[in-house]
C-alpha cells in the first residue's frame, strides 16, 4: 500500500472515530439532541453560557468518560493482540489465548481483595499478566515444539489454571463486599466508569502505543524469525522483551478497569491486516484505531439496544466469533 493512501486512510479513520464518538455521546437512555450536546460541550469549554445543568452531568460525568474509556480499551486490547501475533509469529494468539487476560484478572482480583486502589490494581494485573505470558512461552519451549499450535495449547493450559485460581478467589472472597466488586468488575462493563479511571489508563495507553509504534518495524523483522532477525544484527531478546512487556501492560491495564473482554485482541489485528497488509508499521496503528471503533460501537449497542445493559463480552463474542470464522476462511490458504 502506498504511503499517501495509507496516511489518507488513517486520517479518514480518525475522522470517522470522532464523528462516531460524538454520536455515541448523544445516544442513550437520556437521549440528547446532537445540537444540544454540541452546545453543552461548548458551554463546558467556557465558550458559551451553560444551558442545561442536568444534561451537563449526564454528559460529563457519565457518557464522555465512558466513550473515552471504551475507545481506549478497544485500542489497548487490539494493539496488544497485534503485537503478540507479530512477536510470536502466530496469527492465532491474543491476550486471551496466551493467558495474559486470565493472569491480569488474578492480579487485579488480588488487588481488590487486599483493598488496593486503581493504580495498584493495574500494577498487580501487569505483574500477573507478564507471569502468565512467561509461563505460556516457557511451557511451549519445554515441549521442544515451536509450532503455532503448541503455543496456543500452552496458553490454554495457563489460562485454564489461572481462571481456576480466580474462581477460588471468588469462592473465598467476602460475600458482602469483595465478591460483588470482583463480579461487577469482571463482567466487563463500562457502566461504572468515571473520569478517574480514564485518567489512570491514559498514560499506559500513551506509553504503550508510542513504544510499540516506534518498534513496529522491528516487530516486522522479528516476525520473520529468530535467525532472520539476528543476522541483521538485531538484539532479539531485548526487542521481544520490550514488545511483550508493552503488550502485557496494555492488556493488564484494560483488564484492571473492565475485566476480560474477549475476541477483540484476536479479531481486530486480522481485520487490520486485511485492510492495510501485514506490514506492522501500518498495521499496528490501524489495529488501534479499528479496535477503538469496534469497542465504541459495541459499548454503544450494549447500553442503547435494550433497557438493561448487555454485558460486553456477550456482544464481542456474538460479533467476534463469526467474524473470526469468516477471516479464517478468507485466509485459509495461508494459515499453517
Amino acid at each position: 500500500m502506498r504511503k499517501t493512501i495509507y496516511i489518507r486512510t488513517l486520517f479518514i479513520m480518525i475522522c470517522i472515530l470522532f464523528i462516531f464518538a460524538f454520536f455515541s455521546i448523544c445516544i442513550g437512555r437520556f437521549s440528547s439532541n446532537p445540537v444540544d450536546v454540541y452546545h453543552a460541550i461548548l458551554g463546558k469549554l467556557g465558550l458559551e453560557p451553560t444551558a442545561d445543568e442536568g444534561m451537563e452531568v449526564v454528559l460529563f460525568s457519565i457518557r464522555i468518560p465512558r466513550v473515552f474509556a471504551s475507545m481506549m480499551i478497544g485500542a489497548m486490547l487490539s494493539l496488544s493482540g497485534a503485537v503478540y501475533q507479530g512477536v510470536f509469529r502466530n496469527p492465532l494468539v491474543s491476550p486471551d489465548i496466551l493467558g495474559v487476560s486470565a493472569g491480569a484478572s488474578v492480579g487485579a482480583a488480588s488487588a481488590i481483595m487486599i483493598g488496593l486502589g486503581i493504580w495498584e490494581r493495574q500494577g498487580f494485573a501487569f505483574l500477573f499478566g507478564l507471569l502468565a505470558v512467561g509461563l505460556s512461552t516457557t511451557i511451549s519451549k519445554l515441549m521442544r515444539n515451536h509450532s503455532n499450535l503448541m503455543l496456543v495449547l500452552s496458553g490454554i493450559i495457563v489460562g485454564g489454571f489461572l481462571n481456576s485460581l480466580l474462581a477460588i478467589m471468588k469462592f473465598v472472597a467476602d460475600e458482602q463486599t469483595e465478591l460483588a466488586t470482583i463480579v461487577f468488575w469482571q463482567m466487563g462493563s463500562f457502566a461504572e466508569i468515571d473520569m478517574q479511571e480514564v485518567v489512570a489508563i491514559g498514560p499506559v495507553l500513551f506509553l504503550g502505543s508510542v513504544l510499540l509504534i516506534g518498534l513496529s518495524w522491528r516487530i516486522n523483522i522479528l516476525s520473520f524469525g529468530e535467525v532472520e532477525a539476528k543476522i541483521v544484527g538485531m538484539n532479539t531478546k531485548q526487542i521481544r522483551g520490550i514488545s511483550i512487556a508493552c503488550a502485557s501492560l496494555l492488556t493488564a491495564s484494560a483488564v484492571s478497569i473492565c475485566g476480560t473482554i474477549g475476541w477483540i485482541g484476536l479479531v481486530i489485528p486480522h481485520l487490520a491486516r486485511l485492510a492495510v497488509g501485514s506490514d506492522h508499521v501500518k498495521m499496528i496503528p490501524v489495529s488501534a484505531l479499528l479496535g477503538a471503533m469496534f469497542m465504541l460501537f459495541v459499548d454503544t449497542v450494549a447500553r442503547a439496544l435494550l433497557t438493561v445493559e448487555i454485558p460486553l463480552s456477550i456482544l464481542t463474542g456474538i460479533i467476534g466469533a463469526p467474524c473470526f470464522a469468516w477471516l479464517l476462511y478468507k485466509q485459509r490458504a495461508t494459515v499453517s
Binding site: 516506534g214 516486522n220 520473520f224 535467525v227 539476528k230 541483521v232 544484527g233 497488509g277 501485514s278
Partner: protein
C-alpha cells in the same frame, strides 16, 4: 583477508566437539564451498561465522577485528547471511522483506526511509528481480525466494555473503542459476561461503573448499587440490568418480551405475 578464523572449535552443550582447531580465511572475491556429510557441522560452521553461534574456542576476525568485540550490527554490516528456509507467518511484500537488510544502519525506534527502500530496490535490480518488488513473498516460487533472500543479504552491503545450502529445495535449472549468481557476486568482489551437499557444485564454482571430515579432520585448500576421487569416496562413504568431460572441458563428479 576479510574473515579470518583462528583455531576455532565448537561443541554443543554436553556433546562432543563438532570441529576442532580449524583455521582458514576468506578474502575479497573468494568462493569457499563447505563440504561434508550430514551432521558434520557445516551449518554450525556458517552460524559461527555469522555470529549466530559462539565458538567454544578460538577467534574470528573481521578486517582484523575480533568479532567478540564487535556489536551485532557491526558484524551484520560486514557479513550477509542467506539462511536455508524461511516461512513467514504473514504475507509481506518482497520489498518489505528485502529492506530488513538495512536494519543494521537504522535506529531501534526508527523505520526505513526512502533511501533504504532505494538500497533494497538496487539489491533487487542487482539480482535481476526488480519486477518481484511488490509481489507477496509467500506467493513467489522457491527459486525466486532464494534470489530474494540473496537480495536481502546484498541490502546489508556486506563484504562476505554466507549461504546455507542455497541450492537445496530448488529444481535443477534454478540450482545452476543460483550457482551462476554466486560466481558473479564473487566477480564483483564479494567473498562467498556456501555449504553444499553436491561436490559437483564445488567443482563448478572452482575456488576453495573447506571439508569437515566425519573423522573430525578439517581440510582446507583449493578445489583442484582437495577434490580427488579417493578423498570424495572416503568422505561420503560411497564409491564416486571424478571424470573429465572433454565436451564441456571440466571435471565432473559422478556415482558409478548402481
Amino acid at each position: 583477508m576479510i574473515i579470518e578464523v583462528k583455531n576455532m572449535s565448537f561443541a554443543y552443550e554436553g556433546a562432543p566437539l563438532l570441529f576442532d582447531n580449524i583455521s582458514f580465511s576468506v578474502g575479497r572475491g573468494q568462493i569457499v564451498c563447505v563440504l561434508g556429510p550430514n551432521g558434520t557441522g557445516k551449518t554450525t560452521l556458517l552460524n559461527c561465522l555469522a555470529n549466530l553461534s559462539i565458538p567454544t574456542k578460538g577467534r574470528i576476525l573481521i578486517d582484523r577485528k575480533d568479532t567478540e568485540k564487535m556489536s551485532p550490527q557491526e558484524v551484520a554490516m560486514n557479513i550477509g547471511f542467506v539462511p536455508q528456509f524461511i516461512t513467514p507467518s504473514f504475507s509481506y511484500e518482497v520489498l518489505d522483506y528485502v529492506v530488513t537488510g538495512c536494519a543494521p544502519t537504522i535506529g531501534t525506534f526508527q523505520k526505513p526511509k526512502p533511501e533504504h527502500f532505494e538500497i533494497a530496490q538496487e539489491s533487487l535490480k542487482q539480482m535481476g528481480i526488480l519486477h518481484l518488488a511488490h509481489k507477496y513473498y509467500n506467493q513467489i516460487s522457491g527459486g525466486e525466494r532464494q534470489q530474494v533472500s540473496i537480495a536481502r543479504a546484498l541490502a546489508q552491503r556486506p563484504k562476505v555473503i554466507l549461504m546455507d545450502e542455497p541450492t537445496a529445495h530448488l529444481d535443477f535449472g534454478n540450482q545452476i542459476k543460483v550457482l551462476r549468481i554466486i560466481k558473479s557476486l564473487a566477480a564483483e568482489g564479494y567473498g562467498a561461503v556456501i555449504t553444499t551437499h553436491n561436490p559437483d557444485h564445488a567443482l563448478l564454482l572452482g575456488g576453495d573448499v573447506a571439508v569437515i571430515h566425519p573423522s573430525g579432520e578439517f581440510i582446507f585448500g583449493s578445489c583442484k587440490d582437495v577434490i580427488r576421487e579417493d578423498f570424495l569416496s572416503s568422505l561420503y562413504g560411497v564409491e564416486l568418480h571424478l571424470c573429465h568431460l572433454a565436451e564441456i572441458e571440466r571435471d565432473i563428479c559422478v556415482a558409478p551405475s548402481l
